[in-house]
């Protein structure tokens, strides 16, 4: 197999790689807010339970969670294994990344001084207005670098989907590597991920720059 066919075949999996990436961000970013709010709940039970869930999600391998989501329903309830593997992959990735995002959000929210809340309260802003207009924009600015780190990791983590044979770029590369007994597909995959993350770095850098119109 020539290098060009190899690259071509692996590129066909890039669509699926991007699907994991974008769907995971789409669901995990807001789900992280839910986790963070539950974690900061005044209700001790809710808060502690969320803390436990988040710590399990962060403390066990994503690969294990992916296997559990994909095959768990079959072993536990005899349900058939979903043919479209994108669904369990996105579910597992979204929940896992939401756990990481929630801790970043929480740190960001807790880093805003009480003075900001008090100034807003004195001016009569409602709780929702205070959060959306005053707190959230400052939090986003502060957490953007940490979120970028997670997104960079996510790009690389999409390769974990090979464990459930979802046909993304790395899974195809690994199949080629096996059939051709060649190391080249891994080199190609490495280059792909590197370029992908260069794009992520560029976009997030622009976002950070756009938000740095004030000193914090």
């Amino acid at each position: 197999m020539t290098l060009t066919t190899m690259i071509q075949k692996m590129s066909e999996g890039l669509g699926n790689t991007c699907a994991i990436f974008f769907y995971t961000l789409l669901f995990a970013l807001p789900l992280g807010v839910v986790f963070a709010l539950l974690r900061m709940s005044k209700n001790i039970v809710i808060s502690k339970l969320t803390q436990l869930i988040v710590s399990v999600l962060r403390g066990t391998p994503l690969m294990l969670q992916l296997l559990a989501v994909t095959y768990g329903p079959y072993y536990l309830f005899g349900m058939s294994i979903s043919r479209n593997k994108l669904i369990p992959v996105v579910i597992a990735f979204s929940i896992n990344y939401a756990a990481y995002f929630s801790e970043i959000y929480r740190g960001g929210i807790e880093s805003i001084s009480v003075g900001q809340y008090e100034a807003a309260a004195i001016l009569g802003y409602s709780k929702a207005q205070t959060f959306i207009k005053i707190i959230l924009p400052q939090v986003i600015r502060r957490i953007l670098p940490s979120v970028t780190n997670e997104i960079v990791t996510l790009v690389k983590d999409t390769s974990i989907a090979f464990t459930v044979s979802y046909q993304e770029m790395f899974t195809i590369g690994k199949q080629i590597a096996n059939s051709q007994t060649s190391f080249m597909p891994f080199v190609v995959a490495g280059v792909f991920y590197y370029i992908f993350n260069a794009l992520v770095g560029f976009v997030m850098g622009r976002a950070e720059k756009a938000m740095s119109y004030y000193k914090q």
């Binding site: 001084s113 003075g115 900001q116 008090e118 100034a119 309260a121 004195i122 001016l123 009569g124 802003y125 207005q129 207009k133 005053i134 924009p137 400052q138 600015r141 119109y213 004030y214 000193k215 914090q216």
Partner: protein, 251 residues
Amino acid sequence: MNVLKMTDIKKSFGDNEVLKGVSLTVDEGEVVSIIGSSGGGKSTLLRCATLLETVDGGIITYMGDDVTYYNAKGKLCYSKDLKKFKRVFGLVFQNFNLFPHFSVLKNVMDAPVSVLGRDKKEVREECLALLNKMGLGDKAKAYPCELSGGQQQRVSIVRALAMKPDILFFDEPTSALDPELTGEVLKVIKSLAEEKMTMVIVTHEMAFARAVSDRVIFIDNGIIVEEGTPDDIFGNTKNERTRQFLQNYNN
């Protein structure tokens, strides 16, 4: 009419009884200064008046309406409509607490527009006029981080004024400023006093308090030790504790 009336206010943090029954009235157009040593409860009193803290006992009344009251069972309750009262007062913080992600103009305009629901264009003109008056006309587009402390504090005063409060509280408005910047802020407060703005000012600037106030209150250890005209307090107080405090202060 009393703009603010606080009667027998009590407040504890755990075992620490910080306010031990403080009563205070402020009339329309009056400027009241509160002085006293550190930890005496001055900030706590302002925070109770501005609803940042809840009191354990006592009645707070704004413009004749009760914020707190005792129900039939003798239990202290807060009014259901606190929003109404929040329009009555403003508070200027020691460390400004401007919104760093808003421009100066937005800091000042946003609450009248999005809290009071007023017309944006009208508010904008009013706020620009206020900023001009405070010598901040050229800073409308700047961000707080681009201003000196004195300028930031003047912006925060304008932000409070833009809500057209009936009474304005200041908690040590110049304590976070370099000495050479306190003057510009005190000047602004003085000009408000001349316009008969009702104000309660916690301050360590004794000369300023003497010059600007109609009444001075000395608080120590959670009680009002002495209350009187600036001349009563600073001129020839007969109270031993007040004299001691002022003497320590001058040294």
